[in-house]
Symmetry: D2
């Protein structure tokens, strides 16, 4: 399968940046889950471009659900989300049809689709396709919330400015919920905005790091090999455009630690096993241990920059130069954050359904 | 599926640390590929414990192929590898049967398998199960090599000592091939050995980072969403016990870069598109670009340490302390290296078969 | 996965009989395949109700492709088909909301979806959902035709009237192409129509048998175990609503034969191996032998009949009676025929892509 | 995946008729299920050749479990079954190495594996490979039995002699349990044996039909499209060598019925919905209705016959004749019966785990 992820709960996405519609089909979610269209809209708004630090392309991103919801609740059958593309500038794509933009998928698309790909605005590779993930993810997040499972992502780093790490995870997630620019330390917002605008000024862009936490997730979910919780989550997270690294708990920091520092000791807390530290990010042997699941994603700087770049002409194979025009984001990390929440929610719904059955997420099966 | 990975070329693994046998079934590999049992044995020896810096448990690790090979070549049907466990100390496991070792999967196994898991030596969670991956991986590596695709992994970091990064990748891979302690800068071997022995002296352990490179891999393989090459590789790589982070190309370093620094510009080199830098690690939009695929895995320090640790009694739920005895590795990163090569080879064989068909890896289909 | 079928080429379907839209996403088809909207429309028309022998519900069934096609050709990325429901009578469903119609999925839907299913017109279980299969199947059929692979299905039996078996398969398929009521012996059309109308007169319905043949399919496709060509085809064919049996070649007739009668002897014909008979239906050991693939599907009589039936009230569990009103088909076999062609084409495209790679169906890779 | 079936509970099989070992890995079964090696042995004995009506090849078929069972119970991790091949006659295969036996997979194997397949005794295509299915199936059957789900298969037809259909299914299954030659009407045994021996006398073979019933299976399991219970069962059942047709309930008989005859009316029986008839075979809309699941498999006559047959030389492509020697079964239907039970049990365990979670089959989760 190519544009489908999940086994018991699965999402299939479709669309191109400048095609007629984008969207997705979410299949396998339990019947009876309330679908809150306002919440979907509010999640979609977190993905939208905001002010100066994003692309001037404006899309209403109105999500229409055309199947799988009846009387405001999931039916248990495929939920289809469609979103019409509106602000697609009808213009001559000119050299973008054959010059490979560095950092973009133009060249690899050419090698895979032999020139038949829809190149307009990145086509199917566009970050715009994440709108279908966010719409589906909103339903998944609601379902998880109803079971006491919360997910939150903040911008840990952007253009060299770092936010604080998660502290009291439950409170931090509450703080992040609905926040347009998701940082834990409020002072980061202005400082990050500043570096984004400075990059924009230079016709350039900046990258960052997202940190996600999940609390309330039960222990005993995941597999020891291959379908480890880390493996399944990372598999999906690398679909967030621009993500080039995923690490759990202490992540790459483990290289500097000794076992005696890295091991999380257990203790009994009110009849439940907890760990003193959470260097493992809530996952041991591929299986959840009941502590918060914590991971980070590295997000590369937007490849669309306004500086002249060396590249090749894909028709002739010859060297050439390219000067990108058009509407682009000087940073994507703040918009990718709701995509991280959404991907996480979808993967966890699938894992829970596989472990506890397809009805577990239904409202009356708590 | 749980202990199976891959779609067209798939590996299923089985076994427990102290069970009768461990091994795996490799299915879907093209017919006619020569199977070199000496190469399998040499790959297995790279996984074995070596000298002072590894566990004193010694296993012959003789791999027996009981199906799927006929007249020295693959038949196209499942190849089954079995390895008998020999050096399993028949003793009283005592408190290890019910005390959760910090950093290990004992507690999560209990939550998943409700006490029926084979707890001896970590059971199915043991790093020993990677022997089946290495045996199957050896066949996959041979098949790839015959097509001009080479894979190499080195210990980029161990206990604070860092090797140099890959330079001339093809030459570096040749240098690493068959090297028992895989570093690019020879001087690292002694320095890393020293920190491992120092940790051992303290009853402690150290972590590290593995860096893997693949060269000769064709452009145009992978998918734009979900089954991105990064996603599929990371999914499998997180099965290597102790891996807590995976990053491609510049990885987490992208957070510090601007787009103009991170973008890899294209140029024509002898009629083929190449990039000036390889910050993307050979993957753009989830699809290979024909440049070397480069990634790094963070490996946590071995959780089996000899210091007293706080934990819980899983039968009673009460707090207790634990003093691990037995035979353990003060570092695992050098032994995990051949597992990284093997996992990579298996994933790439699957991707190539999906892309170009099940006969592509056969000897006469170059 | 639930509403998705296929591995390399996969279809996901969605929708409910009286929802806003129905349709599907076809993913994984090679880039560059011409998409002929007229052919799609003509295939859709074969699925539509015709004259007296079908439901009076009339749907335009205009298929809109909203992704995956660019400049008239497949892009290689997901192709999304949407069809708006129009002729949905806005009325009180009354007792159909809680009385289980015998032969329908009302009761089993209740057991699976706990009352949250969309019950209107059968909801997601409606035969109407096959429209998405036929739209996607039309693209798959075109792709196969371009490679010299042809598929045809005829009504072998309907209400006791039997058509002749396939004879010269290539010619017979040509004859069937585009035929609104697909029989090989022209005289069957009137006789079958008669029995259908007689059943309608009685407020009753009739069943039948479809026979499908594929010619031009290469030898060597399929797997010896589990993913046998028979297994994969039957898996998908049982999704055609009302299909209760699938048999290949001589099928259930093999029970009456001796090996010497059933074995298909080989001979050389113009340098190619052919068999004298085709009792195996073109499949031996789960793998195609290059002869026509032939199979039959048993189609049960439409369960919606106008006679009073015994059933239960799903709210109270009590016995009750039911008198179905509304618009229904006295036979479905003639409309199911194009669905059989479509399902077959989709499965075979997937098998070919798995065997020969994702580009095999592309126009320039013959 | 090729030699793997199942999603949550999955079986992977391996081996060749004359290789070192055959067997399988059963993954995903709940932890804590008692494994009765005597029951496995008794199931294996039902698959063995018996007396005059089977091949004289005798195999001990001792099943050794080398992983996944600890203290007599499943651990929840992969259960590996190995069976050594013993009675493999070391001889010159002569013309069988290159002459395609009619009705066998020799030719299709050649087209798929290009001559590298292990041709000895049918290699991986041999019915002998079902031993791994039966071993794994025995564990699955035990697990289902403990939950009140029973499975039984009888020889409905063999060489023209027909057994009675299932009547009181629960009692009939009890009667069949452990019966070496599984017929419901005792008088059939001798009559069927007679026709088998008559065919043997003629150097020929006979086919038959197996009928399987499952009782105690809960309502609400299966999917409306693609993963219908019929689709998933048939997918697996066509892996039983020689099966060429699968039908559920009334099966192909539906073609002769009217809706009013075929519909199964519901009624309340002790607070539970039951149907008056079971023409749907316990499955409506792809989902179980709580009534017995009933289906039939057509089994072709053994293709190994001793009469001279026309065929081709696969090396030269030329016409030739073939006179099969060696040890063969004049009928396979009686030996295939336990394979049908096993396949059914494995599929149903998977379906139950997908629907109700991976712990549902565990002993303490009733």
């Amino acid at each position: 399968m190519k544009n489908t992820f999940g086994s018991s709960v699965a999402l299939t996405i479709f669309g191109e940046s400048h095609g007629a519609m984008i969207g997705g089909i979410l299949d396998g979610l339990a019947a009876g889950i309330p679908v809150d269209e306002d919440f979907i809209a509010s999640q979609m708004s977190l993905r939208k471009s905001v002010g100066e630090i994003s692309t001037p392309r404006k899309e209403a991103d109105d999500v229409r659900i055309v199947s799988g919801v009846f009387n405001g609740r999931t039916t248990g059958t495929p939920i289809t989300f469609i979103i019409e593309n509106q602000d697609t500038r009808s213009r001559d794509y000119g050299e973008l049809a054959y010059k490979a933009r560095p950092g973009h998928a133009d060249f690899t698309a050419q090698m895979k689709y032999h020139g038949f790909q829809d190149f307009r605005g990145g086509g199917h590779f566009s970050g715009r396709i994440t709108a279908g993930i966010v719409a589906a993810g909103a339903v998944a997040i609601s379902a998880l919330n109803a079971k006491g499972i919360k997910i939150g992502t903040h911008i840990l780093a952007c253009g060299g400015i770092r936010d604080r790490f998660f502290g009291n995870i439950s409170e931090d997630i509450d703080k992040l919920t609905g926040l347009p620019f998701a940082v834990l330390d409020d002072s980061c917002k202005d400082r990050m905005t500043e570096v984004i605008l400075a990059a924009k000024q230079d016709g350039d862009s900046v990258g960052g790091i997202l940190e996600t936490a999940v609390c309330g997730f039960p222990a005993g979910v995941g597999e020891p090999w291959f379908d480890t919780l880390e493996g399944v989550l990372s598999h999906a997270l690398f679909s967030i455009p621009a993500v080039k690294g995923v690490e759990f708990g202490e992540g790459f920091g483990v290289a500097e630690l000794r076992g005696s520092q890295n091991n999380d000791s257990f203790r009994n807390e009110d009849g439940r096993a907890v760990t003193a530290t959470n260097n493992c990010g809530g996952i041991l042997g591929g299986i959840s241990d009941g502590m918060p699941i914590v991971f980070r994603c590295a997000v590369k700087p937007t490849p669309s920059i306004y500086k002249e770049q060396q590249t090749i002409d894909m028709n002739t194979g010859e060297d050439t130069t390219l000067q990108i025009q058009g509407r682009h984001d000087p940073a994507i990390v703040h918009r990718a954050r709701v995509v991280a929440d959404s991907v996480t929610a979808l993967v966890l719904c699938d894992q829970l359904a596989l472990r506890y059955g397809t009805d577990w997420l239904a409202p009356n099966n708590e």
